[in-house]
């Protein structure tokens, strides 16, 4: 990937909102959490929002790290393995009850399922299909606007 900082942030927000939103809409009711469906939805969307908002911060860090790369690129694998620290941070915040608005208890399996079900499609789409509707995206530092 060849992002600029603005492109990183825009793509992150757009893909998590659209793909993350769709995935969450579909899977929230079946997540292994003992709570009414409305609460499941509420918590799952709060988790998604947390991942997205924190993601903006992470993107700034990645942008900084990228400056040490001569090519100023972000290899495909980096875009995948960053799910580990990002997922861990959100999980720790959930454990510490530091995510505002959560009503139920987000279990570890529920969190893992939702996190991966969102992250993997977002990563896959960013690495190819995204270029189909947006032909200028890859040449403009992944900016959408």
């Amino acid at each position: 990937m060849l992002p600029t900082l603005a492109g990183r942030v825009q793509t992150r927000v757009a893909l998590f909102a659209v793909i993350g939103g769709l995935v969450t809409l579909l899977i929230a009711p079946v997540l292994p959490i003992a709570a009414p469906v409305a609460d499941k939805y509420r918590d799952a969307f709060l988790v998604l929002a947390t991942v997205t908002v924190l993601g903006i911060g992470w993107e700034c860090l990645y942008h900084l790290l990228m400056q040490w790369r001569w090519e100023k690129d972000w290899p495909t694998l980096f875009g995948l393995v960053t799910l580990v620290p990002e997922g861990l941070l959100v999980w720790l915040l959930l454990e510490a009850k530091a995510v505002p608005g959560i009503v139920g208890t987000v279990t570890a399996p529920a969190f893992c399922i939702q996190f991966l079900a969102v992250w993997l499609p977002v990563w896959l789409v960013a690495n190819g299909p995204m270029r189909v509707p947006f032909i200028r995206w890859r040449f403009r530092g992944e900016r959408l606007m």
Partner: protein, 531 residues
């Protein structure tokens, strides 16, 4: 090389099989159908001047000159942006767009089965770069290997690059899909001149005997110039040696056919001297080393670098390129982000000297770090049959059938004797050595950029060459030095094509490619349906 056959040492072009369909052709008038003094000397032409010369006029709104990869990707974009084939003509001296590219890659040791330099998503036959070459290869070969390589490149594997044959097969399919042959007219383009009432005349010299007149004029509102390399040059001392001794056998360019070197190496012990530290030098090295291993040869290689790179280099930790054993290592000919990321957006804002300085910082000769090449060179160094030296050649003589070079190295002069010298530097000639480009500079208002090539805008419009509502666009190697450095690559040519298409959409020549059109056109691509 004659001025009319720049760069491309491709075999003579044959006439297109299909007759040209034109929108309107005015009858040839009084003159003999050739250029007149009046035409040659006038910067602005009128229809009457051309008619008086007896040159038939063909009307078509868009003309692309060159017919190589640059023309191909541009008309491909425009076809996808709704332009029908009868509104465009490609004027070219080759019969299929990858002919020059295939010739140059083949002689410089990339036959169809070898992998080229550009990456998985640089697909000149697919404007979306999706599915990428790696994905297509994975599906075709039912193998996960290409995808794995793309996943872990460039750190745990070399960059994935497609095989030349896969690129050509894709181009052939896309050429068919967009009706490329319908748009192609073969011949040599002599000049593009501005027309007083707007637009341009592009003068084509058709192959002898195919047209009643010596010249045909294409009258169009838009012209696109993508003529590839203005010409390739030898290193000055090698050129002098060739001319002085009339010896075109022992001193050869990697960009011309030099199979005789490899053939002779199979029959006797040879010492080969290589010049240059770019990818072509790496290719030639690989061929010599592969042959050595395969046929049990004893070929010795002396590799002369003018600039010897001994390690990582660059002004600071944020701008450091890897290097070693003479080479600067880089996947592609510029840092990757010039094709889309940070460097692309930075360069777009730089002017004049600032731009030239930036070009210097990230440019220069480089070659990819490939594990196989590294292993071969290591073996050669240990075995004492591959030697790299850094220096400049002071004198070359012919002695006992060998070329003796006096090389100035840091410790003083040394003598190196070799059976053959292969020039892999690929120096490019000045744009004015190309007749058409010289004419543009002299008569059509075109100027030079900070690197001395054609000065184009961010949307690849040739600065100073506008003619009423008419525009000349240029892309490829002749425009290096502009706001976008990656011009001379597949992806760079596609980026230029996209800018040109967007500009032409603003001017009402084609439709804007928005998300809906892009997606529906992609589906047509997938199912091999016409745009």
């Amino acid at each position: 090389m004659t001025k009319d056959e720049p760069g491309a040492r491709a075999p003579e072009a044959a006439p297109a099989a299909k007759p040209v369909t034109v929108q309107m052709r005015s009858p040839a008038a009084v003159g003999g159908g050739d250029l007149t003094e009046e035409l040659l000397n006038s910067d602005w032409w009128t229809d009457a001047m051309v008619q008086a010369a007896g040159i038939p006029i063909v009307d078509v709104p868009f003309v692309s000159v060159g017919g190589g990869i640059g023309s191909f990707v541009t008309v491909d974009y425009l076809r996808i942006a709704s332009v029908p084939p009868d509104r465009m003509r490609v004027l070219s001296n080759i019969e299929f767009p990858w002919k020059t590219y295939e010739y140059l890659t083949r002689v410089s040791q990339i036959p169809r089965g070898e992998r080229i330099r550009s990456d998985s998503a640089s697909r000149p036959d697919n404007i979306w770069g999706f599915p990428s070459y790696a994905l297509a290869e994975a599906v075709r070969d039912k193998s996960l290997k290409p995808l794995w390589q793309v996943l872990v490149e460039p750190i745990w594997a070399d960059y994935y690059t497609p095989k030349a044959g896969q690129v050509f097969a894709g181009l052939e399919r896309e050429a068919k899909r967009i009706g490329f042959r319908e748009m192609l007219v073969t011949g040599q383009v002599r000049m593009v001149r501005r027309r007083q009432s707007g637009g341009y005349f592009t003068i084509l010299t058709p192959p002898p005997g195919t047209e009643p007149t010596r010249r045909v004029a294409y009258r169009s509102q838009f012209v696109h110039v993508a003529v590839g390399y203005p010409g390739l040059r030898f290193l000055p001392e090698l050129q002098a040696f060739r001319t002085q001794h009339q010896d075109f056998h022992h001193v050869v360019s990697a960009y011309e056919d030099h199979e005789h070197v490899y053939a002779l190496a199979r029959t006797k012990h040879l010492v080969v001297m290589l010049r240059g530290g770019g990818i072509v030098a790496s290719r030639v090295l690989q061929r010599l080393m592969d042959d050595r291993e395969r046929f049990g040869l004893s070929t010795e290689i002396v590799h002369l670098f003018r600039t010897y790179v001994s390690g990582s280099h660059g002004p600071n930790a944020w701008n450091r390129r890897k290097g070693g054993n003479g080479f600067a290592y880089q996947g592609f000919n510029y840092p990757k982000s010039v094709w889309g990321g940070q460097l692309k957006s930075r360069m777009r804002k730089l002017e004049g000297d600032d731009r030239a300085t930036e070009y210097k910082l990230m440019g220069g000769t480089s070659t990819p770090y490939r594990r196989r090449w590294q292993a071969q060179m290591r073996e050669g160094r240990t075995g004492g049959w591959y030697r790299a030296i850094a220096g400049t050649v002071e004198e070359m003589r012919l002695e006992n059938g060998m070329i003796a070079s006096r090389v100035m190295i840091s410790g003083g002069p040394v003598e190196v004797a070799a059976d053959f010298v292969i020039d892999c530097t690929g120096l490019e000639a000045d744009i004015a050595e190309h007749r058409l480009l010289a004419d543009l500079l002299e008569h059509s208002g075109a100027g030079r950029n900070p690197l001395g090539r054609l000065n184009v805008e961010r949307d690849f419009e040739l600065r100073g060459a506008a003619s009423g509502p008419g525009v000349i666009y240029a892309s490829g190697a002749t425009t290096l030095g502009g706001y976008f450095p990656g011009v001379d690559t597949f992806l760079g040519l596609q980026i230029a094509a996209q800018e040109i298409t967007d500009d032409l959409a603003r001017r009402g020549f084609c439709r804007h490619i928005g998300p809906v059109r892009s997606t529906s056109q992609w589906l047509r691509w997938v199912f091999s349906r016409q745009p």
